[in-house]
């Protein structure tokens, strides 16, 4: 047996709200009342959901709860993403509630999304009465079966007395170890039955023993490699944010003088402006960050999982590098890339232990010399900086819009993005200085993520400004949650980067499908023929999507709608949006449709083939390297 599977200490009970609530005497109540009490005791404050037949018993006692705020969303998908945004903004467990059948299945996308991005989420669903299970009863769906592969764990509860224990376990599972979504499906009869409630329940998770403390020998080995490597890189993933290890990371980075790359999920874990920060690696990463990994002789991966969007073609990824891989989840280690030094543990504990071990190495006189390495890195960084061209026709450039939104945003602004070109530009051009201020759908790539996630983030952090950077395609998937925002005093701001197209798909069509724009045009221009195809680049002026008219749509949903069509008015419109705080604001930025995301590593190819721009492959001085 590999040692990595031997796991140590016992499961702990979830942290309770306050010491005085540590033990309650048994009280008689219904299963539904015990569910609400359990959620309160487990620390839930704001929950997102929609009632329906099977979950209805739980909505009745919710009305009397003074500790639980329920936000009535417009679609269960919105509830799920809102809970995700809430969890990411607050560090607490996000909670969403839905009824059986279609209510539950509408949660599937956000649950899968949270699973891919390791977000602590508890989804509560109602289920048909236990005697009706398996009969294809009205609004029955086997949501436990459906979500098995996309949850950390899930439960079917058919007895009222099991509710408190299961909720406690769900919160514990969701928030400890590698965080993730947990679904609790409760039958209607269990909600209706009479039971006794007491808290805390005893934990019974004998098979769940996350290991947080790293093995000292592995840490020493990692520190030894780190101090003797010539071209080391710290490859930082979302796990560092989950573990709240930003300060420790900065300490380690400055101690070693090693360059840092932060993945899409980790932006903000290390200050974007820090001189040791090379940017984001991967498909649309910075040339210097991609090159650093490719040329490294040591990669220290911290809470990162060697996703294919980072590695490109795996067998040509970082060919010269030894790998130290630290992750809370043993499964991730050597899953994609073999780890020479595997470290299982919580990122914060690992990084501080690593820093301590590096200090010991330094005391013994072993400090790496990275001067030559930095010379290369700086050359790549200076030669291929991030940038974009302004459109010749005087239209708005989408990168410029996002950059200005970032620059004009009040201090401490939280940003959520959808998925596509605007997401990559938001990753590249927003300021990512602070941990916990950037939320997006990295693993699943869920279009429609940003509006509800921003809503959840704002509900959890009402003191912060929250901007959603969305595309016109994404926006049309979940914008109905702006109604929820308007009615519940959740004044988020949405920047719709409106290029009238499904931009990222259009970019791929442009590059790989001979500019045949099959079904990616969203605007109502002349080229949008019955087939949905446009005739090519520049064949008609894009005026953005005007059906629907996003300004009118925003107004109809109780928001302020603004539009910006040319660079002269950009700052004024953004300032105006920033000044409105009593209602949600939607700004329709009509941008040039042919802007592309650069750099780019085409899917399935080697990171060595990164293109800094169309037909421009960077010169890494390979000849000199070899």
């Amino acid at each position: 047996m590999p040692n990595a599977v031997q796991q140590a200490p016992a499961a702990r009970l979830p942290r309770m709200r306050a010491p005085e609530s540590a033990a309650t005497p048994s009280e008689s109540m219904t299963g539904a009342q015990s569910l609400i009490r359990s959620l309160e005791e487990a620390g839930a404050e704001t929950v997102f959901g929609i009632p329906g037949g099977a979950i209805l018993p739980a909505y009745d006692p919710m009305m009397d709860s003074t500790r639980l705020r329920h936000v009535l969303v417009r679609h269960e998908q919105g509830a799920g993403h809102a809970a995700t945004g809430y969890a990411q903004a607050t560090g607490k467990v996000g909670v969403c509630i839905a009824t059986s059948g279609p209510g539950a299945t509408n949660l599937v996308t956000p649950i899968a999304d949270a699973h891919m991005d390791s977000v602590p989420l508890v989804a509560i669903t109602g289920q048909v009465p236990s005697r009706a299970i398996g009969t294809d009863a009205f609004q029955e769906a086997d949501i436990v079966g459906i979500t098995m592969p996309i949850t950390k764990h899930n439960f079917l509860v058919t007895s009222a007395e099991d509710i408190p224990r299961t909720i406690a376990q769900a919160f514990h599972l969701a928030s400890t170890g590698r965080p993730g979504p947990v679904l609790v499906d409760i039958t209607k009869d269990a909600l209706q039955a009479q039971t006794t409630f007491s808290w805390p329940p005893t934990a019974q998770l004998p098979g769940y023993r996350p290991r947080t403390r790293p093995h000292p020998r592995q840490v020493r080995e990692a520190a030894r490699l780190l101090t003797c490597a010539e071209r080391p890189v710290l490859y930082v993933g979302g796990g560092v944010l989950k573990a709240g290890a930003s300060a420790e990371l900065r300490d380690l980075a400055e101690l070693t003088g090693v360059p840092v790359v932060t993945t899409l999920m980790a932006l903000g874990a290390f200050p974007g402006s820090h001189p040791q920060h090379l940017g984001m690696p991967g498909m649309h990463g910075d040339v210097a960050a991609v090159a650093a990994l490719q040329k490294a002789d040591l990669i220290v991966a911290l809470g990162a999982r060697f996703d294919d969007r980072v590695t490109g073609k795996l067998d040509s990824f970082a060919p010269y590098a030894k790998v130290v891989h630290a992750d809370i989840d043993p499964v991730e280690i050597s899953k994609n890339r073999f780890a020479d030094v595997p470290i299982v543990g919580d990122a914060r504990e690992v990084i501080s232990a690593l820093a301590a071990a590096v200090r010991e190495e330094h005391e013994e006189g072993n400090a790496g010399d990275h001067a030559a390495w930095w010379q290369d890195l700086n050359r790549w960084r200076d030669t291929y900086p991030r940038g974009y061209d302004l459109p010749a026709d005087g239209m708005l450039s989408p990168q410029q819009v996002i950059e200005r939104v970032g620059q004009l945003a009040p201090e401490g602004t939280l940003f959520a993005s959808g998925v596509g070109q605007h997401q990559m530009w938001a990753a590249q051009f927003l300021p990512h200085e602070e941990p916990g201020t950037w939320f997006n759908s990295g693993g699943a790539g869920t279009m429609g993520y940003s509006v509800p996630a921003a809503m959840g983030a704002k509900a959890g952090r009402p003191d912060r400004t929250v901007w959603a950077i969305d595309g016109d395609g994404c926006f049309q998937m979940t914008n109905q949650e702006l109604v929820t925002c308007a009615l519940n005093n959740i004044p988020i701001k949405v920047a719709v980067i409106n290029n009238g197209a499904l931009g990222m798909v259009r970019q791929w069509q442009n590059l790989f499908y001979g500019a045949r724009f099959s079904n990616t045009v969203l605007h109502d221009g002349a080229t949008n023929a019955a087939t949905g195809s446009a005739r090519g680049v520049g064949s008609a002026a894009n005026r953005g999507t005007r059906v629907p008219d996003f300004v009118l749509l925003a107004e109809a949903m109780g928001c302020v709608g603004l539009r910006c069509e040319n660079p002269d008015e950009l700052d004024a419109v953004i300032d105006k949006a920033n000044s409105i705080n009593d209602r949600p604001v939607v700004v329709d930025f009509i941008v040039h449709e042919d802007a592309m995301v650069w750099p780019m590593v085409p899917a399935g190819t080697s990171n060595d083939d990164i293109m800094a721009a169309r037909d421009v492959r960077p010169d890494f001085g390979d000849a000199a390297d070899d």
Binding site: M1, P2, A4, V5, Q7, P9, A10, A11, V144, G145, M148, P149, K152, H153, L156, L173, T202, A203, Q204, L205, P206, G207, Y208, R209, D329, P330, V331, S334, K335, F338
Partner: protein, 187 residues
């Protein structure tokens, strides 16, 4: 590709077999055989899985993924040398008066038992390791196999060490039930 036998101690909860089977199909692991049954302990079941993997890293990945399931208490590889492995086969062979004695003779050679006889057929029960059963079935094939049922492989380690005891001991701090702990202590 090499074959490995994994013994997986799990909580006896509904859906655990589905979780394990789904894990294998979703992750694209090659599963040769899967057998499940309760153990000497009412709260625990034991799943024996035979997997085929490319290399040691793949086996490690299978093991770690199994361990990640919340209801899984322990995963152990049972090496052929240190474990007893058995499969059960029930086979119905065409056998009229002219050939019945030959069929029974082969059954005798493989220590199979006759569990049913009809004028034109004999049903045999045989247990053993896979290669022994394969050899028997090859011998019986000449007479015509009418029907064949096989169990999955089950396996147990040699010697006095007990996987259940180890699994229960390691998880005792929160306990499966107090009964579980008692079983482990008295054994």
């Amino acid at each position: 590709m090499s074959q490995h036998t994994l013994s997986v101690l799990v909580e006896n909860t509904p859906g655990i077999l589905a979780r394990i089977a789904a894990l294998f199909s979703r992750r694209g692991f090659n599963i040769d055989s899967l057998a499940v049954g309760t153990t000497e302990h009412p709260d625990l079941s034991r799943v024996t899985i035979v997997v085929r993997v490319d290399d040691q890293l793949s086996l490690e990945q299978v093991t770690k993924q199994l361990n990640k399931l919340v209801n899984v208490l322990k995963v152990a590889e049972l090496e052929a040398a240190g474990a007893v492995q058995r499969e059960l086969v029930l086979v119905k062979v065409r056998a009229d008066n002219t050939i019945r004695s030959q069929v029974l003779e082969i059954a005798e050679l493989f220590r199979a038992r006759t569990v049913d006889v009809a004028p034109d057929a004999v049903t045999l029960e045989a247990t053993g390791a896979g290669d022994k059963l394969d050899a028997m079935l090859r011998m019986l094939a000449q007479f015509g196999i009418k029907e064949l049922v096989q169990s999955g492989v089950i396996a147990i380690g040699r010697g006095s060490r007990s996987l259940t005891e180890r699994g229960v001991r390691e998880t005792r701090p929160v306990g499966i039930t107090s009964a579980a702990t008692r079983t482990a202590q008295s054994a």
